[in-house]
């Protein structure tokens, strides 16, 4: 049925983004110290998303942020809820599959975080007494694994047609020893962080309403959905993470929007530098 194209889509979107990125790096000249992989602190790795790479799953997405790759599959909604779940609402179950070995405490926490995050974006009253299963397979891990997984799940839920209040957009923010915040951290960077925050925001939205809020207002309306932090950071550092993360989440939102629009025009992998 729905199959992905193997070749990436590298069209106007990327050119546009490249331009923007260069403009951005000029503005931030003072932050000369670029990261080990050449990115500036606010720069994300190239993102790509493949729609419905799996045949049997009701919706699936392969989401890559650089070399971190997560495959997410959705089955459902299927009739009935498990014991202990409220049958008056739709229930969501999450299964995490690591690349090797059994799942441990870390993966259990990922499952729990994902479940709660997805519950908050799904409209649970549309299909009461049903269960939707979300299964994640780690395909590559080069840092920011949980944010990548959340983005993958969100895309897979949309492809499966699960009714959502809005999208969830996740970003990994790392705080370096000197308090500098870097976004979409890779594995090597994560080993040098003082602390980090994995943040999830609602997507930035289009509105048909005549009163167009400006970007600032719009951003401030997007409240934090999930925040998982590790390590000690100052209050200032944390708010710096939120501010940067929120700004980055608008760019990820744009990427997600373009990806989801692609679905009508056939199944292609979408790549972009965001």
């Amino acid at each position: 049925m729905a199959k992905q194209g193997e070749e990436g889509f590298l069209g106007f979107l990327e050119l546009h983004d490249r331009r923007r990125r260069h403009a951005g790096s000029d503005r931030r000249r003072r932050m000369e110290d670029s990261r080990a992989d050449g990115r500036n602190p606010n720069q994300l790795r190239p993102f790509s998303c493949t729609r419905n790479p799996l045949d049997r799953a009701h919706g699936s997405a392969r989401w890559a942020q650089g070399d971190t790759i997560v495959l997410a599959a959705v089955y459902g909604p299927k009739p009935g809820t498990r014991k202990g779940e409220n049958p008056e609402k739709a229930s969501i179950e999450v299964v995490w599959k690591p690349m090797t070995g059994q799942i441990g405490k870390q993966e259990k926490e990922y499952e729990m975080t994902l479940k709660r995050t997805l519950q908050s974006i799904c409209l649970l009253t549309v299909h009461p007494n049903t269960t939707t299963s979300v299964i994640l397979q780690v395909v590559g891990n080069d840092g920011s694994l949980l944010p990548c997984a959340i983005n993958a799940c969100c895309a897979a839920l949309v492809f499966a047609g699960i009714p959502l209040k809005h999208l969830a957009v996740a970003i990994g923010c790392g705080v370096l020893e000197d308090g500098e915040v870097i976004l979409d951290t890779n594995k090597a960077e994560e080993q040098q962080l003082k602390s980090f925050a994995h943040l999830v925001f609602p997507n930035s939205r289009k509105s048909a309403s005549s009163k167009q809020p400006n970007q600032k207002e719009e951003d401030s309306e997007r409240g934090l959905i999930t925040s998982i932090t590790h390590g000690v950071m100052s209050e200032e550092d944390y708010f710096s993470c939120i501010e940067r993360g929120l700004a980055a989440s608008s760019r990820i939102s744009d990427f997600m929007r373009t990806t989801l629009q692609k679905q009508a025009a056939g199944d292609e992998e979408l790549k972009a530098v965001v």
Binding site: G76, V158, P163, L164, N203, R205, S209, L260, D267
Partner: protein
């Protein structure tokens, strides 16, 4: 502004994603709008709940058109169902929805307690959705609105396969979509398309059934021209 003719949403025929505000009710007065699939009301706004193209059927019906592997039942849709169980009053039928559909054993033309059809598990049925809401199981009928069997009922022989709901809509669109038109010029076959993303094809020779099925499956991501040339090459291999 004429209050009975609401201005269409600025996003009509555009792509929307969940959370997009499609209509702002605060800006409208005394207007009735109808919401179809993929939309919900949240306070003063109408928001998208799924990704796809926003459609407006004049004067006032909005919905989000998208393509999925699963189906959300909607009244008057013609669907292909598979019998999974038989109860005294109903057949339980899988229509790829969130819950099983009921097909009352009497919902057949001239149906009485004496002539209840015998359907084994795995029987394929072409039926119409007559009830659909999120709380109760959807209900099917094998009669049209006037109580006639029309084309509804069991489909025997042939081959059934799954498609996306978008592909089903394309197959049912008029004028006839390129893939069916191109196939129909060279081969004779019967086809039943369920809006729930199932297609049944029958023809005297199995090879024709296979060609038609594969042509339809492959047409999903192709343009009209692509569909025609794909059918050409499939037919060449057949001869």
């Amino acid at each position: 502004m004429d209050s009975r003719k609401p201005p269409p949403s600025a996003l009509v025929d555009n792509h929307v994603v969940p959370g997009d505000v499609v209509l702002d009710l605060a800006e409208m007065t005394n207007q009735t709008i109808k919401l179809g699939a993929g939309l919900r009301q949240d306070c003063d706004t109408i928001q998208a709940t799924s990704a796809g193209r926003l459609r407006l059927s004049k004067p006032n019906k909005y919905w989000v058109e998208s393509s999925q592997k699963r189906y959300v039942p909607s009244v008057e849709d013609a669907v292909l169902g598979v019998v999974v169980d038989t109860k005294p009053d109903n057949f339980l039928v899988d229509i790829k929805g969130p819950s099983l559909a009921f097909l009352p054993v009497l919902a057949f033309e001239g149906g009485t307690r004496r002539n209840i059809p015998k359907f084994e598990i795995g029987t394929l049925i072409y039926a119409r959705v007559v009830k659909a809401n999120s709380i109760m199981n959807p209900e099917l009928s094998c009669m049209d609105a006037t109580g006639k069997a029309a084309e509804f009922g069991q489909l025997k022989d042939g081959y059934m396969f799954d498609t996306s709901t978008g592909l089903s809509r394309m197959l049912l669109s008029s004028p006839t979509c390129p893939v069916l038109e191109a196939l129909g010029k060279k081969l004779s076959f019967e086809i039943a398309v369920g809006l729930n993303g199932r297609v049944w094809v029958n023809a005297p020779s199995p090879s024709n059934v296979i060609v038609v099925s594969n042509a339809i499956i492959k047409s999903e991501s192709l343009s009209g021209i692509g569909q025609r040339s794909m059918v050409e090459s499939l037919l060449e291999r057949l001869s």
